[in-house]
């Protein structure tokens, strides 16, 4: 059981408002991802929930109890750190067992729990090793093992995959998702990588400058972003923003159109453009173009497209995929 509720949670460092006041509901068993650019306060928010930072004001309710002033260990949460933060002087077994020892569990219980966590995470053969004798992925699994054995109300992950190489990251992403399906425990996961957010989350919380910009299911954020910031942050490559005539035509300040929602033609279309760089990936082609009157745009075409530098093309946004924004960057609803 792990339902977490934040009520007007505030954090200031000196005169700096890092988190001006966040309200958030996290349901039991949910996989929630905090995403945002560096310095947006997502890690601070996680550390506030963990109890590693003191809240300046507000309530943190875990299963209905306010724990804002409780010590980290009293909150019943486990955390996986970006640096793994394994105890270098202990074996894998002792790393995993440390929390149980601190809780005063009996030797038999510790043995049983460590063995079962090791089995889930394929660490059984490495229990006597020191962390320094493990690969990055294995260390990450030990860190997760240490979190699992305590049977927490929720897992907190602080950018756990950013130290791994690209291939391993995809693997671990799947493993963590699998683990969530198996354990069905609440997980809060912090990342700056919107791909991780989109692929893993039940619910994404987009943060900017300590403020929650939007909360929603991955596809809801993709399809109907609340503002320009979310529209630009979710989705890769980034959404194109166009003003001028086209915006006027849709009676708004600016329109947004995702690279994958623009039709490319060499004969006719709404916006004439010149290809600057074409990135051929096989399954798809990214065209970085200069649109006449609108500046640089990115367009994604499926499959292999025989276009290159200086080629003249025409772009036509899919009308039902156009996002409209007012002068403050707030979404106006699809036209």
């Amino acid at each position: 059981m792990g339902a977490i509720r934040l009520e007007k949670v505030k954090k200031t460092f000196g005169t700096l408002d890092v988190i001006p006041g966040v309200d958030l509901d996290i349901n039991d068993g949910e996989f929630v991802v905090f995403v945002g650019p560096s310095g947006c306060g997502k890690s601070t928010l996680l550390r506030l929930i963990a109890g590693l930072e003191d809240v300046t004001d507000g309530k943190i309710l875990i299963n209905g109890t306010d724990v804002a002033n409780e010590a980290p260990a009293k909150r019943g949460l486990s955390m996986v750190f970006q640096s793994y933060a394994l105890y270098p002087h202990m074996t894998v077994y002792n790393n995993i067992a440390f929390g149980l020892k601190m809780a005063g569990e009996s030797k038999e219980v510790i043995e049983e729990k460590v063995q079962s966590a090791a089995k889930i995470l394929n660490l059984t053969d490495y229990l006597e090793r020191r962390p320094s004798a493990l690969s990055g992925g294995q260390r990450q699994r030990v860190a997760i093992g240490r979190a699992i054995v305590r049977n927490p109300a929720a897992f907190l992950f602080d950018e756990p995959l950013s130290n791994l190489d690209a291939a391993l990251r995809v693997n671990m992403r799947l493993e963590i998702t699998g683990l969530h399906q198996e354990l069905k425990t609440t997980m809060i996961y912090v990342t700056h990588d919107q791909v991780e957010a989109m692929t893993m989350a039940d619910k994404i919380v987009v943060l900017q400058a300590g403020r929650v910009e939007q909360v929603g299911k991955p596809m809801d954020l993709y399809n109907s972003p609340a503002n320009k910031f979310v529209a630009g942050f979710i989705g890769s490559p980034k959404m194109n923003f166009l003003g001028g005539e086209l915006a006027q035509k849709h009676s708004c300040h600016e329109i947004g159109i995702r690279p994958e929602h623009v039709a490319v033609s060499t004969e006719n279309g709404e916006i004439p453009a010149t290809v600057k760089i074409a990135e051929h990936l096989g399954a798809e082609t990214y065209l970085h173009v200069e649109a006449d009157g609108y500046g640089p745009m990115t367009v994604r075409a499926t499959g292999e497209v025989p276009l290159g530098e200086h080629d003249k093309i025409f772009l036509t946004p899919e009308q039902d995929r156009i996002h409209r924004f007012d002068a403050h960057g707030l979404a106006l609803g699809n036209s």
Binding site: A73, L77, A85, Y87, G99, M102, R150
Partner: protein, 276 residues
């Protein structure tokens, strides 16, 4: 930028290093040599290097005249005692400064170090009077307190620089794992800092062992360590070089042996943070 070293440069550097090394080592070598000479040979000019009658009589006489082991035991108790007491304070102090720094942490550290720059004789009278009134003169307890306070700034500095290298994440992980503050320090911080703590202890044992100002001024017999033992040979009947050398050799021998075997550890501890 690193220049490539020429063979000539290498040789001249080595020769220079050897000269400096021998220059530093020579007084100790001469002291040991003198301790095996007779009093007459010790002061003979020109001095003899190897071709003299080697004798152990100085050592026998020194042991006969004063109880070496009593002084040595006092030295051990003072050096180890002040280091252990100091460690308790220094570890907690360095923990606070390294992991919970404030705007004033750097100032506090510099202030602590600045106390080492004051000449000890400046506070001799007040401390002597306090010792007299509290009945601490010539007690091991009193001397341990003085030595520990004297070396505390250095211990805090060394441990602080060492703790700074330990990732805060690991301590936070321990906190998440339910470790209380004492457990966090004992089970996580200290085991990771063993090399730093070892070199800090070592340096402080050496400093306390060699300390002569306070030990000479605040002791007479009961708590007198080896420094007092040596000093007793430079008075009152005049200087007896051979016996003084024998006494000095006996006094520095233990610490020399410790230093010799632990030099790697010491150098590592002292340069920690300076080189990565």
């Amino acid at each position: 930028m690193e220049k490539k070293q020429t063979p000539l440069g290498y040789v001249s550097f080595s020769v220079f290093a050897w000269i400096v090394g021998l220059l530093i080592f020579f007084p100790i070598f001469w002291m040991v040599l003198t301790s095996f000479k007779s009093e007459l040979e010790a002061v003979s000019i020109p001095p003899s290097f190897i071709s003299f009658d080697w004798t152990l009589e100085n050592y026998a006489e020194v042991q006969e005249r004063s109880n070496y082991f009593k002084f040595a035991m006092n030295s051990v108790i003072l050096a180890v005692g002040s280091t252990l007491v100091g460690l308790v304070f220094a570890v907690t102090c360095a923990w606070a400064m390294a992991f919970n720094p404030t705007k004033r942490t750097k100032d506090a550290l510099l202030w602590m170090l600045s106390t080492k720059m004051m000449p000890p004789v400046g506070v001799l009278v007040p401390i002597y009077l306090m010792f007299r009134d509290w009945g601490l003169l010539d007690t091991r307890f009193g001397l341990i307190m003085v030595l520990f306070l004297m070396n505390l700034p250095i211990m805090v500095w060394m441990l602080y620089t060492y703790f700074k290298e330990i990732p805060t994440d690991i301590l936070e992980a321990a906190r998440m794992d339910g470790a209380t503050l004492p457990k966090e320090i004992i089970f996580v911080l200290l085991p990771m800092a063993v090399p730093g703590i070892a070199s800090t202890m070592l340096l402080n044992v050496i400093l306390a062992w060699n300390e002569a100002f306070w030990t000479l001024n605040l002791t007479t017999s009961d708590a007198a360590p080896l420094t007092a033992f040596i000093a007793s040979y430079s008075s009152p009947e005049g200087l007896f070089w051979a016996k003084l050398s024998a006494a000095s050799t006996l006094a520095v021998a233990p610490i020399l042996v410790i230093g010799w075997f632990s030099q790697k550890q010491l150098v590592r501890g002292l340069t920690f943070g300076a080189v990565k």
